[in-house]
Symmetry: C2
Subunit: 108 residues, 2 copies
């Protein structure tokens, strides 16, 4: 699959997540967002570190402590385990294409 | 560092490799190539799996068994441990921007 190919996301109203590879237990995936966001008041509290990059479009990540990061094409962000965050916004046109690398659980 | 920002590679004649993140022992790096290739007859024989993606430009990977893969923007490739390979060519204009994820050694 080409990272910029939106065929699999065409006509979908939900985010499309596809596995790219697993390297030594670290899962690398592509996420295509088209305007979705994490519901207000909902926080991701992950038990593993995650690294994300935006390849196209824009995405906004907000942390529970108030910090906000707007990611544009080429921007990257480390999401340490248990740093609570949500995706406050994603672009729909163009679609927001993310790469995410998820480590295995830090605890357990 | 923005993945598409070539400031750090400007005026350099060698490849520029920069660490992006380490997730659970998996090192993610950006490589900017500008026409370099692995010397003929030289093969990478890595003791870890590697996953690569080309974000811009083109790169050609050749395996010792004769297989050849031309990667263009958005293309990805898994390089399993000990599958001997070399980079036969990279584009110079535009620069070839890679993301690579290296696992820890499979043996040892």
């Amino acid at each position: 699959m080409n990272l910029f190919d939106l065929t699999t996301a065409a006509g979908r109203s939900d985010e499309v997540v596809e596995d790219l590879a697993v390297i030594a237990g670290v899962r690398i995936e592509r996420i295509v967002s088209t305007g979705q966001s994490t519901p207000t008041g909902t926080w991701y509290d992950q038990d593993h570190d995650e690294w994300v990059a935006v390849l196209q479009g824009e995405g906004v990540v907000v942390f529970e402590d108030g910090a906000q990061v707007c990611l544009r094409a080429g921007d990257t962000l480390l999401l340490p385990a248990h740093r609570r965050h949500r995706v406050a916004a994603t672009s729909g046109e163009p679609a927001c294409i993310w790469i995410a690398a998820h480590g295995p659980a830090v605890h357990g």
